[in-house]
Symmetry: C2
Subunit: 499 residues, 2 copies
C-alpha cells in the first residue's frame, strides 16, 4: 500500500497547548452543564476500565444523550485536534476504554434508550449505553432473547460489545456480536453521521458493519445499533461430565463437534479451577478430584435436545467420563452453571490478584496446548487456572499472582505472552473476545504480517485521518509501543522488530 | 471524509497508448505462451458473463496457475497502469466479470486445485477456480459438505462466489459465502500478497475477510480460500404446500420463522412460474391452479425433523394450504425440487428472453411487495414470474421479454428498477446474492447516502490507489454511469442526482 496523503496520522496539536477550559465550555453548550465532568476527583472514576493494571486520568469526561450530541462533541475534538476515547460501562478486559493523556472521554452511559422493537422482523434498535441483559429483558415477554452473552452481561453495554465484538458461552452455536448486528448509525472521527449495514441481512457494497464491529473505538462511535433477536428455544438441558485427564475432556469436545452436534455452550474447567470454585462457591456438584469437567448445554426442540443429550453422554462415557449428570429443570441447570459463572470471582478470593489471558486455538490442539500451559505454569512458578469456552477453542487461562510483590505483574505478563505465542504457533489467535486494546497491541505483529497491518492502518486512516479516535490502541505504534514492551515482544516473537 | 491524496483514482494511462504487444510478452514470461490469449476470435469467448446483455471484448486474457503468478501479472498491470478484471467461471448475473475496454482479463480457470483438507478443524483450502460443487464432492466421503449452494453450483467457481458473496437455497439456515470463509490469501491491486482472516473463527483487528468477500473484484483477487465445511445432517425432509393466494403463502413463511423453526430452505413459486415449469419440465407435482407453492426443506436430527415437519404442515394448513406433500426419501425429495431447480431454464423455453431481478425485503413485507410487483407487471405489460428464496425475503422476479423487439430491454430494465425501488422503500436491499456489478451500480445511491458511498470509496482507494481493479463496477461514477442511466435512475429515485 503506497497511498500518499497530505496529512499524516497522529498529527495532533501539542497536547500541552490545548485549552481544556474553552473545550469544556463548548461541550457544556452541547450537552448541558451536568453532562461535562471537569473536577479531578470525579475524573478519577474514569481512569481505567476492567483492566485495572493500566490507569490514566482523562482531561475531561462528556456524557452525551443522542447521536447528534455525539456528532457535535466529536466535531469539537476534530476542530481542536484533541484525541477522544469512547467508553460504555468500562468492563472491558483489554484496556480498550483506557483514557490516554490529554484526551476527552466520551461516556455513553446516558445513551440508554431502546429506540425500536420490531418482533415481525426480529430486530431491536438500541442506543450504545443499553446494558446487554436489558435487550433480552425487553423482548423476553414475546419469547425472544439476544444471544451474545459475555460473563459481564448484567453490566456491560451494547456499545462496548460492538467495539470489542464480544462473545460469551452461547457464541459457540450462535456466533459473536458481529453475527447479531444488522445496522449501525455511527459518528465518524470527523463528526459525520453515517449509516452502515441494512435491516435485511444481505446488503451490497463493502461490509462496513463487519469492519466496524470489533474495531475497538478506532473508527468512530456507534450511536444506534440494530440487533437481531432470536426465539427462545423450546427446550434447554445441561450436562456435567467429569474426567480423570484433561486430554480426555479435550477429546470429548472434538468428538461432540465431529458428531455434528453443536451445543449452545461447551465449557471446560480444570482441576485448579474446580477446587477454587468449590472452596469459594461450594456448589457440591464439581468433583474435587476430577482433572477436568465439561459443562455442555444443548438447546432446541425438546425431542432434539433429548436425543442429542444421550449422544453427548455416550461420547463422554466413551472418552472415560466417570460421572455424567444431566439437568433438565431451570433450577438444576442454574446449580450446574453456578460454579462456572462464579469462577473468575472465585479466583479473586483465593488469590490477591489474577491476570486473565484470552487466546484462541484450533479445537484439535486443545490437549497439546493445555499440557504446554501446565509446563509454563511450572516454569514460571505461578498457578494457572483454565476456565474456558472449549467448544470454540477460546482459552481463558487465569494466572494467579500478588500485585503487591514487586516484579510479579511483569512476570505474569511475560507468562501470558508465552501463552499467546503458543496460540499463534498452533494456528490460533491472540484474542477471542476481549479485544487487543492497550494490553496486547505489541503482539499484533506475531499474528499479522507487515502488509496485513499496513492494510488495516490505511483503513483506519480512511475513517480517522487525524488519528484522534482511541489512539494508542489495537495497533502497535513506534511512539507508544515503547522500548520495554517491544524488547519483551521481540524476545518472544523474533519477527516483531520490524515495528 | 476529507482525506486528501496525492493521486486520484482512475488515473489510468491513456488506454490508446498502451503497448499490449509488450504486455503480452511480459505475461508470457510469467505464465507461459499457452497462458495468454491474444487472438481476437478466442477473446470473444470472454466478452460477457452470465449477464449477456452487456458485452465488451478484453484486450488480452491471462490464465495464471498460482498466487505468485497472479501477483506477478497484477504487478505488470500496476506498472503499466492498465485496468484488470478477474473472472472465474463467468456465470455471474450482474456483469461483475464483464471486461471493460482496454483491460486485461485475469481468468482463474486453471487455479483449480484443492490445497488442503483438514477434517479435524472442518476446513478446506482451495484455489479460486475450484467449482463450488467440487468442494462438497471432495469432503462428502467423510460426511461433510460445503453449505452455500447457488443454483449455478455445478459450474460456478469459489473465487466468483467470494467476489459476489453468493447465496443459495440453503443460505436461509446456514448463511451466505461470507459466513463460510475463514481465511483468504489475496493479491492486492498493487500486486502484494496479503493474508487476511484466520484458521480460527475469531481474529482481532479489522475484519478484512468480511470486507473482501462481496467486494466484487474491486479490492484484489483471492488466490487461496479457506472454507468451513459442515457435517451432513442426519435427516432431510421436504414439504410441498399449495395455496390459493400469494398472501397466504407469504403469511406461512412469516409464521414458520416466528414459530422458531429455521428451515434449511424455504422457496416460493407463483402461479406463473408453476405453469411455466409444468409446461416444460412436467413434474406433475405442482398444481397448475395454485396461486403459490412453498417448498420447505428441514434438516437436522431425525426426531427433530420429524417433529418440525409436522409443525410446519400444521402452520401451512392453518394458513389455508389445500394440499401438503412430504418427501422423506432422496428420490422423492429430488422430484419435489426438480421444478424449482429448472425454473429459470423453463422461462428460457417459454419466452425468447428473461431478465432476472434480485432484491431483498423484510419478510413481513412479502404479501405487499408481491401484490405491487403484480401491479407493475400489468402496468408495463410484461409477464413477471416469481421464484425466490422466501425465507430470507430474497426475491427473484423474472421478467419475460423479447430482446429482438427494439425497446423491450429498456422497458424491462425500467420495470426491474421499479421493483428495486419498492425493495428499498420497504427497508430492503437492491441485491441479495447476485451482486451490483455493471448492472445495478446506478441504483446504489438509492440505498446508500453520499457519506456511506464516500466511505466505501475511500476503502477502495486504500486497496487500489490507481483504480485499476475491476473499475466501472459496484459504484456509480460520473464517467461511466452515463447520462442515460442517470436520467433513468433520477426519474425513479429522486435522490440520485447528487452522483
Amino acid at each position: 500500500m503506497v497511498l500518499q496523503t497530505t496529512r499524516t496520522t497522529n498529527q495532533v496539536t501539542n497536547p500541552q497547548s490545548t485549552d481544556w477550559g474553552a473545550i469544556a465550555t463548548e461541550l457544556e453548550k452541547i450537552v448541558g452543564k451536568r453532562g461535562v465532568v471537569r473536577r479531578k476527583e470525579e475524573l478519577l472514576v474514569y481512569e481505567c476500565d476492567g483492566l485495572t493494571s493500566y490507569r490514566q486520568r482523562p482531561a475531561l469526561v462528556v456524557l452525551p444523550r443522542t447521536t447528534e450530541e455525539v456528532a457535535a462533541v466529536v466535531k469539537v475534538c476534530d476542530r481542536a485536534q484533541v484525541p477522544f476515547v469512547a467508553r460504555g460501562s468500562g468492563t472491558g478486559l483489554s484496556g480498550g476504554a483506557l483514557p490516554i493523556e490529554h484526551c476527552l472521554l466520551i461516556v455513553t452511559v446516558r445513551m440508554n434508550r431502546t429506540l425500536k422493537v420490531d418482533f415481525d422482523n426480529q430486530q431491536v434498535t438500541v442506543q450504545p449505553g443499553v446494558i446487554n441483559n436489558w435487550v433480552t429483558q425487553t423482548v423476553s415477554g414475546a419469547g425472544f432473547y439476544y444471544a451474545p452473552d459475555p460473563s459481564s452481561q448484567s453490566v456491560c453495554s451494547i456499545g462496548g460489545n460492538v467495539a470489542e465484538n464480544s462473545g460469551g458461552v452461547h457464541c459457540l452455536k450462535y456466533g459473536v456480536t458481529v453475527n447479531h448486528v444488522l445496522k449501525l448509525t455511527i459518528v465518524t472521527p470527523e463528526g459525520e453521521i453515517v449509516d452502515i449495514g441494512a435491516a435485511v441481512p444481505e446488503s451490497p457494497g463493502y461490509d462496513l458493519t463487519g469492519i466496524f464491529v470489533g474495531s475497538e473505538g478506532t473508527l468512530g462511535i456507534a450511536t444506534e445499533i440494530t440487533l437481531r433477536i432470536l426465539k427462545v428455544p423450546d427446550s434447554i438441558q445441561v450436562l456435567l461430565a467429569d474426567f480423570t485427564s484433561v486430554a480426555a475432556a479435550g477429546q470429548t469436545v472434538s468428538d461432540v463437534i465431529s458428531a455434528g452436534i453443536i451445543p449452545a455452550g461447551m465449557e471446560m474447567m480444570d482441576n485448579f479451577s474446580i477446587n477454587a470454585v468449590e472452596d469459594v462457591v461450594k456448589t457440591d456438584c464439581y468433583p474435587r478430584d476430577a482433572e477436568a469437567i465439561l459443562l455442555i448445554e444443548l438447546d432446541g426442540l425438546a425431542v432434539e435436545v433429548a436425543t442429542n443429550i444421550q449422544r453427548v453422554e455416550q461420547i463422554c462415557r466413551q472418552n472415560g467420563a466417570r460421572n455424567v449428570a444431566i439437568a433438565t429443570e431451570p433450577e438444576e441447570r442454574l446449580t450446574l452453571w453456578k460454579g462456572r459463572k462464579a469462577a473468575f470471582a472465585a479466583m479473586g478470593k483465593i488469590s490477591p490478584d489474577y491476570y486473565v489471558q484470552d487466546g484462541v486455538i484450533p479445537r484439535s490442539q486443545l490437549p497439546y496446548v493445555l499440557k504446554e500451559i501446565a509446563n509454563l505454569s511450572r516454569t514460571y512458578g505461578y498457578g494457572v487456572a483454565n476456565v474456558f469456552h472449549a467448544g470454540d477453542g477460546n482459552l481463558h487461562p487465569l494466572v494467579l499472582y500478588d500485585n503487591s510483590v514487586p516484579g510479579q505483574l511483569e512476570q505474569v505478563e511475560a507468562l501470558g505472552g508465552e501463552i499467546l505465542k503458543l496460540c499463534v504457533e498452533v494456528g490460533g489467535s491472540i484474542s477471542g473476545e476481549h479485544g487487543i486494546g492497550a494490553d496486547k497491541r505489541c503482539y499484533m505483529p506475531a499474528m499479522f504480517s507487515e502488509a496485513d497491518l499496513e492494510t488495516m492502518h490505511w483503513v483506519r486512516q480512511v475513517f480517522d485521518p487525524q488519528g484522534i479516535a482511541n489512539p494508542e490502541k489495537l495497533f502497535p505504534t513506534p511512539r507508544t509501543c515503547g522500548e520495554a514492551a517491544r524488547a519483551k515482544a521481540q524476545q518472544q516473537f523474533p519477527g516483531v522488530e520490524r515495528f
